[in-house]
């Protein structure tokens, strides 16, 4: 009986290899140091503000760091509301467009549409902000008014301080709202989400598609039973990545909302808030304490996007379609 033990392999590296490995190791370490520095600096400065505010940081709505009275309750709720509206807009749009590109569009048009979507994902957010501020702001008012008039009894869709039956009432109460900011952010993240979903749908095994069709399934039955189950991970993961982008979006939101520092649950009403817009608004006039407080708010935002992003990557990697990538 001959038993082979695995041999010890010794690698002799020449000088160029040693230098090369040293250089790339240094590159990797530098990146790690920078990233850890950003995170720990943020945590360190935030802890000063957190120590002072204590648990009230999560419950206080006002933002007056110099008076020692500050908390993220209002801005976090505002951020989540804007992101929720954005996802409600983006999910049907991107799912429909992704299915349209992979299943319904003429074959010749497909690669062109794919390029358009990818290009749109690179359009700067300030451009969407311009569009939202100068176009959508005015044209969405009748829609907002209609929704608040007929669905105002649903909590969150009502508008206070205006009589909906008065046709001459001022419309400014409907502008600069969470709703408008959410729509703009939703349209902004849609190309990214669409691009991820389309990529996943296009990887559906051809054999399974053809099998379903050969068994007599209609196109929709094939999509529902083959494409959508296969692409489930991509749908959830892509939406979550879009959510992460929507939570951290600054400039498009900052251009549209008129910031308030109390929890504004009525999404159609003037006045909204978001963490990123708060930082953009207050960084300049900040004292030492004010800056720490902003860092704490930034850290809370970062923690939120981090959880969403990691959740997305776990969902994608566990799903069937994501196992290969």
């Amino acid at each position: 009986m001959l038993t082979d033990t695995p041999r010890q392999l010794t690698v002799i590296r020449d000088r160029s290899d040693k230098v090369f490995r040293g250089v790339i190791r240094a590159g990797g370490s530098t990146v790690l140091v920078i990233m850890v520095l950003v995170g720990s600096f943020l945590a360190f400065r935030a802890s000063q503000a957190l120590n002072k505010a204590g648990w009230s940081f999560f419950t206080e709505q006002a933002w007056e760091p110099d008076a020692g009275k500050f908390g993220i309750a209002a801005v976090i709720v505002g951020t989540i509301l804007i992101a929720t509206v954005a996802i409600v807009v983006t999910l049907p749009l991107s799912l429909g467009t992704a299915l349209f590109i992979t299943e319904y569009a003429p074959r010749k048009l497909r690669s062109f549409l794919v390029s358009i979507v990818d290009l749109m994902a690179a359009i700067p957010s300030v451009v969407f902000g311009l569009w939202g501020f100068f176009f959508l702001q005015q044209s969405i008012v009748p829609v907002s008014r209609w929704i608040s008039q007929y669905f105002g009894w649903i909590p969150g869709l009502g508008v206070t301080g205006v009589d909906p039956s008065d046709p001459l009432a001022t419309t400014t109460v409907y502008t600069s709202s969470t709703f408008i900011a959410g729509i703009v952010v939703g349209i902004m993240v849609t190309p990214i989400v669409t691009s991820i979903m389309r990529e996943v749908f296009s990887q559906t095994p051809v054999g399974e598609r053809e099998g379903a069709l050969a068994l007599g399934a209609t196109r929709w039955a094939m999509i529902r039973n083959v494409v959508l189950p296969f692409g489930q991970g991509g749908i959830i993961g892509g939406t979550m990545l879009g959510l992460g982008r929507a939570l951290g979006e600054t400039i498009a939101v900052y251009m549209i909302i008129s910031p308030v520092f109390f929890i504004q649950p009525n999404i159609l009403q003037n006045g909204a808030s978001s963490v990123a817009a708060l930082i953009a608004l207050r960084y300049g006039e900040s004292t030492e304490m004010g800056l720490s407080a902003l860092m704490a708010a930034g850290l809370a935002l970062f923690t939120m996007t981090l959880i969403v992003n990691f959740g997305a990557s776990i969902v994608v990697s566990r799903s069937r379609s994501g196992a290969a990538s």
Partner: protein, 387 residues
């Protein structure tokens, strides 16, 4: 063998009946909408009209299909209409956003001075023919160049490291980089504002803005470069190492050339992201109306920031300038994107075919020259031979 002679049937395409029922439903819905909005319930506004028409259209279409087909087919047809209209809706919104921005900026775009001059002598009440955004174009290009000088070497080295030296440490680095892609860009700006500007006393300047952009771009670039490098076939690497090449030679001669187009694409897409981001620049670069080419001191404005400042003004000319600047920024991003597409479209196969064609051309060129020069050379050698 008769089967192979049968002509190929077309499976796709639209049947005449389908087309007619779509048209019929559309016309019927349109008529009913007019009746409803004018006679029954006076509803004003284009959006309301359109929504009502669309709902009626889908209803009528379902009704028409259900005359001939069973429920399964009705659902299939209705879903097809819904999905197609969602796709068309998204594309029209996106195209509308772009057309809207260009149309509002069209007033500013024809002037040459808009691209070359700065706003130093142009006040809010001056006509558009005075002043321009040359300073912002220069600022954007300078800032992105510095950011690229930092991120390309670091990013590519880190991505190569993640792939070439696997282990627990590189897995840790990968996780951290992945986490950092979630960093909101405004927080990256806040970090540079708090460290470089407030702690180390760097003035608000182009350099500070570049640092903020770099912090934001670095994780994005590393992540996509990492994916691209992972796609290099393991067999290629093993072949190279099996032939006795060192790791450095393998990376330099096999890994990087194979993934060159992918790496370039990841760099360009990160650049497009970096050049369009406003929030990190807002906190770090300061604002100026004049051209400044020195990134080390005094404020330096970039395109997105210029847009943001222009549209804050209530003057219509300033707003038109803002839209014009947005059009310039989009053109810049579009150019980068097209370059990325062209390079990304080059598969290794294609580029090696191009190389072969080039080699053939040079070979042909060499033959011609040899043919032309050989009599001369022979004469020279003939002359030289006796001596």
């Amino acid at each position: 063998m008769g089967i192979s002679n049968e002509p190929k049937r077309t499976l796709g395409g639209i049947r005449v009946g389908d087309l007619l029922s779509i048209l019929g439903a559309a016309v019927a819905a349109f008529s009913l909408t007019i009746v409803l909005t004018t006679q029954v319930a006076p509803i004003t506004g284009g959006i309301a009209f359109f929504v009502l028409w669309y709902l009626l259209f889908v209803g009528f279409y379902a009704l028409l299909v259900s005359i001939d087909d069973s429920k399964t087919f009705v659902i299939d047809r209705v879903v097809a209409v819904l999905v197609t209209s969602l796709g068309v809706l998204l594309f029209s919104i996106l195209i509308f956003v772009i057309v809207f921005v260009i149309a509002r900026g069209a007033e500013a775009l024809p002037y040459l001075s808009f691209y070359t001059e700065d706003m130093g002598f142009a006040g809010p009440l001056d006509p558009i023919s005075v002043g321009g955004v040359g300073h912002a174009i220069a600022g954007s290009l300078i800032q992105i160049s510095i950011a690229l000088a930092i991120t390309i070497p670091l990013g590519i080295a880190a991505a190569v490291y993640l792939n070439e030296i696997p282990g627990r440490f590189s897995r840790f680095v990968r996780t951290i980089v992945e986490a950092m892609t979630a960093l909101p860009s405004i927080v990256a700006g806040l970090f540079i504002f708090a460290t470089a500007i407030l702690m180390f006393g760097l003035p608000k300047s182009g350099l500070a803005a570049s640092l903020a952009i770099s912090v934001m771009m670095l994780p994005i670039m590393i992540r996509s470069a990492d994916v691209v490098l992972r796609l290099v076939p393991q067999t290629l690497k093993e072949a190279s190492i099996g032939l006795g090449a060192s790791q450095w030679k393998t990376v330099w001669n096999v890994v990087l050339p194979t993934s060159r187009s992918g790496l370039t694409t990841s760099i360009i897409l990160a650049t497009a992201r970096g050049i369009g981001e406003t929030s990190p620049v807002l906190l770090t670069s300061g604002f100026t109306a004049e051209l400044n080419v020195n990134p080390l001191e005094s404020p330096m404005v970039s395109l997105p920031l210029a847009i943001f400042q222009f549209v804050k003004s209530p003057e219509p000319t300033m707003i038109a300038r803002g839209f014009g600047t947005a059009a310039v920024l989009m053109l810049l991003v579009l150019t980068l994107f097209v370059i990325a597409r062209i390079i990304g479209g080059m598969t290794p196969e294609k580029s090696s075919r191009a190389r072969r064609r080039r080699a053939e051309f040079f070979g042909w060129f060499a033959t011609i020259t040899r043919k032309v020069t050989s009599p001369i050379r022979r004469r020279i050698t003939n002359v030289e031979e006796p001596s």
